[in-house]
Symmetry: C2
């Protein structure tokens, strides 16, 4: 089977994919129907073992690097750059059954489909499972893909500790998944990652596929406003330096700053603390973080500048002092245009309702795009709920995502004549 | 000495008052120069004992009621209504050396001055020490004056427990200060209370005396806004129900509501909590308290109505649900006009810079004004700082306040011919 028409008719085995998702969900089950398969835990080790068995059954060889990243491809093919698909098999402590693992098992399913139809590709197609994407046990998130692309030094990553003081490298050795291959050495021809949206857009608009064109740039600012703690009853309005009021004005300012840059910018204050946080004491201090995101680097910088300037205004008006600390700064990601086009054309060819989308969170693909052509495919999730055991998708959504992944992979790998 | 001129020249012994304040501050000393003489503690008992010794030395008899309130007056005088002055001798855990105790010891000093000049009054002049004004050990504040005026039932007050589970009545008996006299039975001809301002107004305006005309009415509302917790990166601005943003708008609304009702209204949000309070999760819930105060009952009701209505608007705009719980509701207090006039005239006669003032906090005098003519005198405190070991006043401020108290007492008690 090598003619164009037959290839266009090719579909993954949706039931087999769903069964694998269900089987993997039983490894490190959560307490409320989800999963707890944190990085480098015993459950992660069992999950890796099960995945490796499936990969070998599918005719692939599994290699492991010294960050525990798993790469699977046909024997002998690793000498040339591989077109990889994958994601991460680890979960949050109260994680869902699809975040990450869908991308890994859909990649496996794509390879199975290619092999059982005896399709030969010019470039080999492989599966990757990146270690410790979640970052909940070993901060930061995307630790191993970050090492792969040179954002983090390997030694620094090896020395990351969990809450109990265990080192990443020690835990990786303990569970038996420390490989010899130096992380980052492997050549990647291209990389595709299917992931659940973790947001509400696709479901709300009745879309089956999100064609991810960009990753949001992210800036986290921690703002501390210092005022004067004083009695709420005895301090007249004009003798106050109310840090809580200043915080309120900046929460609203952040909102306005994002609304002025639609459709893609977002800004949020999700965390705050007043001191002394007493009903009848004017807050002498307010500490809060502002999460700013935009897929446009210039807009993102503008957003931060405007927030700082609004902060200066608020401080002048209210007699406060401001300190701003930059906690996180991720540049926006522009995914490879050819890869994005493959995803869009595959969705169109398959007849799926699709739209372009910005990835709002961090993903391994955001890092991999620094060293190889990369793109992401998203499928809806119910209510946009993720990082929660209640996370849910339908078998149809999973199949559609896997079919797009399959066809994008085939186009990029090329059919051997 | 009975002529008018001689009376006008009468002054308290400021040094003796200051010495007593310093001695009392050594009973239940704090860790940072202030006091820890919490209600019904061993330190409170030692403070009561020292006060009782001074009262007896000053020629007074001390009676105690079944809430531990101490009343001191000349022997045989209690059959007729007494003109009392006083306040409370208990402190916060990290309290100052003047909050409360200044009013008690200035009353003692006034009686000493009257007696040593052999002045006879038509109505007897006495000293009172109300139990547990602070409310920090046994909530609510002003517990014993509240029982005295019938706001609280005695049995309910006796059953109040501290953080360790000890009952008020048991602790009162343990320290030996449970009297037989039923609380509230004693007739009060009039009541004056000297207190530090606990606010910045007098010091800022270089005033020695505050003539307290009203007590602020207080309403504490606990507002809960329910939105939808969601990922800050993947949830577009127009698909959010951000409880933190709603809170911010209502903090600002409370501020505007008070600013529109100057000079006396105040409004503050000093306590708040977001849930889950995570940097990259839009708050699904915000809980905060709004402290509204005005000396005008109608304005205070308006303020609450307007805040609720602004809350409804915010909820409509942002897709939130609001619950409002009323935690505290104290009506404004209008002090007795004759007593207030005595205070104002005494300050003028003595040549002290003075201004009318609203008592922003709760005081025993606010309750006592329900059953007897009452007024308050305030003296400045440094930086408006109180409920803090750093609380400070000058000996001159203390003397000025005590002199005004002395002359207001003499005018109300009347000079015997």
């Amino acid at each position: 089977m090598n003619e164009q028409a037959a290839i266009a008719d090719l579909r993954v085995n949706g039931q087999r994919l769903w069964d694998c998702l269900e089987k993997m969900a039983q490894v490190g089950p959560g307490v409320a129907g989800g999963c707890n398969r944190q990085a480098l835990s015993d459950a992660d080790a069992r999950g890796r073992q099960l995945l490796a068995e499936w990969l070998v059954e599918a005719g692939l060889q599994v290699a492991v690097d010294d960050m525990g990243n798993m790469f699977a491809q046909a024997a002998g093919s690793a000498a040339q750059p591989v077109v990889y698909a994958g994601s991460h098999n680890d979960t949050q402590p109260t994680g869902g059954k699809y975040d990450g693992v869908l991308g890994v098992l859909a990649a496996l399913e794509a390879v199975r489909t290619i092999n059982e139809h005896n399709i030969k590709t010019v470039r080999p197609v492989g599966v990757v499972n990146w270690s410790n994407e979640e970052g909940c046990r070993f901060a930061p998130p995307m630790l191993a893909s970050g090492v792969f692309v040179g954002v983090h030094a390997r030694q620094w990553a090896h020395d990351r500790k969990d809450g109990a003081g265990c080192r990443f490298a020690d835990e990786l050795a303990r569970i038996g998944w420390a490989g010899d291959e130096p992380c980052g050495q492997r050549r990647i021809a291209a990389y595709y990652e299917l992931h659940i949206e973790q947001g509400p857009v696709l479901e709300n608009e009745n879309m089956q596929i999100g064609v991810v064109t960009h990753g949001q740039g992210v800036r986290w600012l921690q703002i501390t406003l210092a005022g004067r703690a004083a009695h709420t009853g005895t301090t007249p309005m004009d003798m106050r330096a109310d840090a809580g009021l200043g915080m309120a004005r900046l929460i609203d300012a952040a909102n306005q700053i994002a609304l002025a840059r639609q459709p893609d910018a977002v800004a949020t204050v999700g965390q705050c603390r007043l001191h002394p946080n007493s009903r009848n004491v004017i807050a002498g201090e307010a500490v809060f973080t502002v999460d700013l995101r935009s897929p446009d680097r210039q807009l993102l910088a503008q957003m931060e500048d405007e927030l700082r300037s609004r902060g200066d205004d608020v401080c002048r008006q209210l007699g406060l002092q401001m300190q701003v600390e930059s906690l996180v700064e991720f540049d926006p990601v522009q995914f490879n245009q050819e890869c994005v086009t493959q995803v869009r054309e595959a969705a169109a060819m398959l007849g799926y309702a699709h739209r372009d989308l910005i990835a709002g969170g961090g993903h391994d693909a955001c890092y991999i795009s620094r060293v190889a052509p990369a793109a992401m495919i998203m499928c809806p999730c119910v209510g946009g709920i993720s990082h929660n055991e209640a996370e849910a998708i339908t078998p149809q959504w999973a199949s559609a995502g896997a079919n797009v992944l399959l066809h994008a992979l085939l186009q990029t790998a090329g059919l051997a004549s």
